[in-house]
Amino acid sequence: MANVTVRLAIRDAIAEEMRKNPDIFLIGEEVGEYEGAYKVSQGLLAEFGNKRIIDTPITEAGFTGLAVGAAMGGLVPIVEFMTWNFAFQAIDQIINSAAKTLYMSGGKVNIPIVFRGPNGSALQVAAQHSHDLSSIFSNIPGLVVLSPYDSADAKGMLKAAINSPNPVIFLENEILYNESFEVPDGDYIIPIGKASIKKSGKDITLVSFSRGVHTSLEASKILSKHNINAEVIDLRSLRPIDFETIINSVKKTNNIITVEEGWLSSGLGAEIISRVSSEAFNYLDAPPLRIGALDVPLPYAKNLEEQSIPTAKRVAKECLYHLQNN
């Protein structure tokens, strides 16, 4: 076990897989010479050279299309978006070209590609750099959507993504890059579609992903002062979702609250609660609740930004109010 930042865990996953498989290459803006806008690709150009670590012009649609084509041709591209906000430029390549080709080719053409980069809000980068795309991609059949919280998962899940025969959306988080967590030694893979119980509890299930897991864990500390022992589930995989783990948890706690940094409308919380209501209705002791970002483009102003994204305090407060009043 070593204490490693999420940033390094991602770099290690890429490097280890690239050493094993010469078909893997990394492509994106500033991934080579600059070693990544967020320094995720540190040392990769030096090790693998500019045939496999490819700097591109600022043209997301262009290099994403190129990468999807390469995947069709048998290579394994890892596409880095400087932030997922810029992937809107390439959304046609991701959805129409990457996600749908296996189906439209009658199962003949696989697209083994990973799209990755920081997703959602960071600190004060304003609405056009703070978009959380998790629910958009989770809506698309043909895509796998992963969003890790800690270093161990980031590494193991990215390896699973690289080895997946399907296009994988890999949603990282800028603030988490710098956080350190323990990472197991050696080569390992976190299977796609498996959630993780970050904290076991018996009174209420909090389901979240990415930085929301941190928020939920902090909220559970506040709740414990009110004698509420919350179970915190890290989804890890947003598509497919591990409903088995969630429903088993709800059968134990009889209460569920989802926490996400994205907007609530047609969001992941809505999806989870819908499934829980259908499949574990008779285990619910209270109406489920969703907590998410306010229904506005994320403000730039620090105070307003803080008000818009769920904080641990807000999550705890909403949980308590909900449990007592609804």
Partner: protein, 450 residues
């Protein structure tokens, strides 16, 4: 002008109240400040106080009426110059208002029906269409569609919603899906369960509580609690002794008396005396206490709010146990009457107490009490003062105990007594003086001759 009396809102959460009882009758004159009625809220019973003057002319609810909405008219106060017309006008006005209130309730129910209709439409995969459109889409031979049809017709006809129909929704039990499932599994009727969740929802906890309670009852095999109405004697005992313990600063002094001489004296007193006239130890104790109080008059007194009363005679209240309670008949002027007289009086009191034939004059008054549990084999105990008296002597059983006399241990008959004193009027030293006087008499019975 006629004054309406409305169900008051006594707390922010109160929506309806129960009329516990009327404190005035129809026709009674009411003055401002009079208590007209007692109203029970979810939390407490409160009094409705009159603000205006008049005659209680009409009462709209009986004693014990429940669930009266806040601000409903419950009574009418008729002023001096009011005609019956005025009262009637008021009644019409408020009856109208009450009807509006109940109509609001009906409307709520209608809304619930709308929701239900909507739900049904959605379940059937029909768009949120008007009732007409729904009807058109219905296939005649589909049974469940017929139900929808009926529902819609019902809805159209709901101008004449009857009480049964409204009750259907009022009686709905709100329970969480989990609670419902647990209730089915455990064969519990949700009607028997109190919902403690938000908005009164029955939640898992309530089911668990109910099940545990039932298990407890099963475990003690058909032992049920029963409630018995409190008798007036118990009520008096409860009130007086609670008052005493709450208000009188009790202090306690213990003393042990050697009663070898006393037992011998009693034996001699009772020689050639027939059984029913024999003197008891208790009779002698009464006399001894009376004489002690006579010697220490500072202890023979009562605390009053303004002054302390010192009594001229020694009237001893003696606790006599009866079924479900006790009486304290009084031996008056016990310091002057003979032991044989005390004995006779006591025998009569005990007999009449057990027969329930004591008169108030037998047990009213008294300056000091004796409670003797010697016959129940109690060593010693702390008694509660019988107000307004200044003290009570708690007498235990006579026991043979080893006693150090000089340098020797001897077996002697020993009586333990404990004095409870009212510290407002007696101090420790006075109490000690009294007890020592008592001990000296008990240990040397001939002193009773002095």
């Amino acid at each position: 002008m006629a004054v309406p009396i409305l169900m008051p809102s006594l707390s922010p959460t109160m929506t309806e109240g129960n009329l516990a009882k009327w404190c005035k009758n129809v026709g009674d004159e009411i003055k401002p400040g009079d208590i007209i009625a007692e109203v029970e809220t979810d939390k407490a019973t409160m009094e409705i106080e009159a603000i205006d003057e008049g005659v209680l002319d009409k009462v709209l609810f009986e004693d014990g009426a429940e669930g009266i909405a806040v601000n409903s008219l419950i009574a009418v106060l008729k002023g001096k110059d009011d005609t019956d017309e005025k009262v009637k006008e008021l009644l019409v006005k408020y009856k109208g208002l009450n009807e509006v209130n109940s109509k609001e309730k009906l409307n709520e129910n209608n809304e619930m029906q709308d929701v239900k209709n909507k739900e049904i439409n959605e379940i059937k995969g029909l768009p949120k269409a008007s009732n007409e459109a729904v009807k058109e889409n219905i296939i005649a031979d589909d049974k469940s569609n017929e139900e929808i049809n009926n529902y819609n017709e019902e809805k159209e006809n709901n101008i004449q919603i009857d009480s049964i129909n409204t009750n259907k929704f009022q009686d709905r039990i709100i329970a969480s899906p989990l609670a419902k499932r647990l209730a089915i599994q455990n064969k519990i009727d949700l009607k028997n369960i109190n919902g403690t969740g938000p908005k009164g929802r029955i939640v898992k906890k309530d089911i668990d509580l109910f099940l545990n309670k039932n298990n407890e009852i099963l475990n003690i095999s058909n032992k049920y609690n029963k409630n018995i109405k409190i008798s007036s004697m118990r009520k008096v005992i409860a009130d007086r002794l609670s008052f005493s313990k709450n208000n009188i600063p009790h202090f306690y002094l213990n003393i042990k008396c050697n009663v070898d001489n006393l037992l011998m004296a009693r034996q001699q007193m009772n020689e050639n005396v027939d059984e029913k006239n024999k003197i008891s130890i208790n009779d002698i104790i009464i006399k001894a206490l009376a004489l002690s109080l006579n010697k220490v008059p500072e202890a023979n007194c009562s605390w009053g709010e303004r002054d302390i009363t010192y009594y001229g005679s020694v009237d001893i209240s003696v606790a006599v146990a009866v079924k479900d309670g006790l009486f304290t008949p009084v031996i008056r002027s016990a310091e002057v009457i003979q032991i044989s007289e005390i004995s006779k009086l006591m025998k009569d009191f005990v007999y009449r107490a057990k027969e329930g034939k004591l008169k108030p004059s037998d047990y009213e008054g008294g300056n000091f009490s004796i409670s003797n549990l010697g016959m129940y084999n109690i060593d010693s105990f702390s008694a509660i003062i019988n107000p307004p008296q200044s003290g009570i002597l708690a007498v235990g059983a006579i026991k043979k105990l080893p006693v150090v006399i000089g340098e020797e241990i001897k077996i002697s008959n020993t009586l333990s007594c404990q004095l409870s004193g009212d510290h407002r009027v007696i101090d420790g030293a006075v109490g000690a003086q009294l007890l020592n006087e008592f001990k000296s008499i008990i240990e040397n019975p001939y002193k009773m001759l002095l």
